[in-house]
């Protein structure tokens, strides 16, 4: 009986169900199990408890990776949100050539991370890049050596990432701004509320769902950052711009240290869950309850 009802839909959804279970759930379980082993070149079940995690947290390189991901996550998220919102507000001011500006701000988003990384690597090139241009123009004090500076290289990554992602936030925010009821603006105009106060006190709270969505999508992307850094700095100078994703990939594919890689990837996964859980709770539980009340 169960099979007979909606049999077509059940068959159609079979690939989704199989993939969800084997790939999405299965891979996490697999990774977790083998993170408890001391697998090197090939996965072998040789139980060592949480040794790999202990080793991971003692590794200097992992510390640097975690620190980098926090810096990157913070600067990139805030940068994208602030610049994206600012651009959306500007575009929303009934400006001339609106679609031209929109096209300009969004085109980096169509480019791959590899291309983004390589372009900025060239622009920020300490010998021939922007620094060189400024020197040629007489600004000899100008310094832009971020790519070769251990402390600043991660900020170069942030600039490239914000350049690529701000347009995406702008589009989301703009969709929110365009969804604002025309009457609200009329009302604000009759009450004589200045534009900037309107945006901060009335409009921003109204597009909160859009802000949260942007925040979650951007934040979830932070943990994944890999190709961009590979192209821009290859993790260097030294390993000063390495990230957890790079650490995992290195241990998988060049250092043949599977157990470490699994453990690190599980930590990555847990941090994504930590970002998503409050949002998912709000989105699906809290909101449903609010809708019913």
């Amino acid at each position: 009986m169960f099979l007979k009802k909606n049999i077509g839909a059940k068959i159609a959804l079979l690939p989704m169900i199989i993939i969800s279970l084997t790939v999405f759930v299965g891979c996490i379980i697999y990774s977790f199990i083998y993170s408890l082993t001391n697998s090197k070149l090939i996965p072998v079940f040789n139980y060592v408890g949480f040794d790999q995690y202990e080793r991971l947290f003692k590794t200097r390189k992992w510390d640097v990776a975690v620190e980098n991901i926090f810096i990157y996550g913070f600067v990139f998220t805030i940068g994208c949100l602030v610049i994206g919102f600012l651009l959306a507000v500007l575009i929303d001011q009934k400006i001339r050539a609106e679609s031209l500006f929109r096209t300009i701000f969004l085109y980096p988003y169509a480019m791959s991370f590899v291309v983004t990384g390589l372009v900025w690597k060239w622009v920020l090139n300490p010998t021939f890049g922007i620094e060189h241009s400024m020197h040629l123009w007489g600004f000899t004090w100008f310094e832009l050596d971020w790519l070769v500076n251990r402390d600043l290289a991660i900020y170069a990554v942030c600039i490239a990432a914000v350049w690529q992602g701000a347009g995406f936030v702008m589009i989301l925010m703009l969709a929110g701004l365009r969804g604002i009821d025309e009457d609200i603006w009329k009302s604000l105009s009759i009450e004589g509320v200045p534009k900037w106060k309107s945006y901060i006190f009335v409009i921003l709270p109204m597009i909160r769902p859009m802000v949260i969505t942007s925040l979650v999508l951007i934040a979830a992307g932070v943990v994944k950052v890999y190709d961009l850094i590979l192209a821009l700095t290859s993790g260097g100078p030294g390993y000063s711009t390495t990230t957890p994703a790079m650490y995992v990939m290195e241990n998988f594919f060049s250092r043949a240290n599977l157990g470490q890689a699994f453990a690190a990837s599980i930590i990555m996964f847990i941090s994504v869950v930590c970002i998503l859980a409050p949002w998912a709770y709000y989105e699906f539980y809290f909101r449903n309850r609010e809708a019913k009340a």
């Binding site: 009821d181 009457d183 609200i184 009329k186 009302s187 105009s189 009759i190 009450e191 004589g192 509320v193 200045p194 106060k197 006190f201 009335v202 709270p205 109204m206 909160r208």
Partner: protein, 357 residues
């Protein structure tokens, strides 16, 4: 009496499309003016022009003897209530009411006084701490009206304020708005497409179509003496019956196919000329059952009981005619009835110009 709002030779174009052209409208002090018309007639555009929310192309707007044509909306001493309420969703009712005042740095005690007065008037004291999402449609609209009240506006503008409410609430709020106008006696300009709202609320109605004022008069005059065919058809539900006819001066009759209707009692009878093609209009309640020899014989084709009265449908020369009876009627399908018209209450329009004769 002095004018509160004057619109002088106003033109407004949307792109190349002409929405309002050379429009003049005087609204008296304390008057309740309703702008009535089908969607796209320019009534909301006119209201937005008065509010200063749209930039006009030609003409002037005066409010309280002050030329406000170039002034910002906030400097026009107006309050406005919108169809979608336009409450600020993140703020409580109290904050909604006070937001505009706070932004203009009004002292706190004055704000509180104004809020108290407005919330008493509108009976929203209980709701002050709530958010708009926790209010019903009717309550939201009260708050929106309150927001206009605290501004000490000289003129209130209403943009279809009741359209988003269900029928019962609409009637309730209509009553409230009317009472509010009685108590405050401010000038109010009210845009609607609902003729019942217009009839019940207005001191004067201006019926609009295609950016032109078709008729500007009291509700009674507009109902009884519509200026043209459009107004006649637009006002009244069920709508006025129309018959195409030709005037026969010698017999003082309108000829509708084989039927003859004597119109010697029509008020502007003398303005008709022989053989004039006209449209004869008669409201359903002005048709009577009558057994005298001039009555027109026809068959009942449909009966619609509407509670307080009953609508009986028949036809003359193939044109459907509705007749309204008070209470229930004793007529049934296919009954043969004789009807006559109350000519004094009829309207006759020239079929070329569609103007009332």
């Amino acid at each position: 009496m002095k004018n509160s709002v004057e619109v002088k030779k106003l033109s407004f174009n949307y792109g190349k499309e002409e929405i309002l052209n050379n429009l003049n409208l005087d609204i008296q002090d304390g008057e309740f003016m309703v702008l009535l018309g089908p969607s796209g007639c320019g009534k909301t555009t006119l209201l937005n022009c008065i509010a200063g929310l749209l930039d006009i192309d030609e003409g002037q707007i005066w409010i309280e003897d002050d030329n406000v044509t170039w002034k910002e909306p906030k400097d026009r001493h107006i309050g406005m209530v919108f169809q979608s309420y336009a409450l600020y969703p993140s703020m409580t009712v109290e904050k909604n009411l006070s937001f505009g005042l706070r932004m203009m740095n009004t002292p706190k005690n004055i704000i509180n006084k104004k809020i108290e007065k407005a919330s008493n008037l509108l009976q929203i004291n209980e709701l002050l701490k709530r958010k708009p999402s926790q209010l019903s449609g009717g309550q939201r609209q009260r708050v929106a009206i309150g927001r206009a009240l605290v501004r000490d506006a000289k003129v209130f503008l209403f943009d279809e304020p009741l359209s988003n409410l269900d029928a019962k609430l609409r009637a309730e709020l209509r009553y409230e708005i009317k009472k509010l106008h009685r108590d405050l006696s401010n000038t109010m300009i009210y845009v609607t497409h609902d003729q019942i709202e217009a009839m019940t609320l207005a001191d004067r109605i201006s019926v609009m179509k295609d950016g032109l004022i078709q008729q500007l008069d009291t509700p009674k005059q507009i109902y009884n003496k519509p200026a043209n065919l459009f107004v006649a058809g637009f006002i009244g539900s069920p709508s006025m019956n129309f018959l195409n006819a030709k005037f026969d001066k010698t017999n003082q009759n309108l000829i509708v196919g084989k039927q003859h209707i004597n119109i010697s009692k029509y008020e502007n009878f003398n303005n008709l000329f022989d053989n004039q093609e006209v449209i004869f209009g008669i409201r359903p309640e002005n048709i009577k059952i009558d057994n005298n020899e001039n009555a027109i014989q026809c068959n009942v084709e449909l009966v619609e009981p509407m509670g307080a009265d009953t609508l009986v449908w028949t036809s003359i020369e193939g044109k459907p005619i509705s007749i309204r009876f008070e209470g229930s009627s004793n007529y049934y399908l296919n009954d043969e009835i004789n009807i006559s018209f109350d000519i004094k209450k009829s309207s006759i329009f020239d079929s070329q110009s569609e103007e009332r004769i």
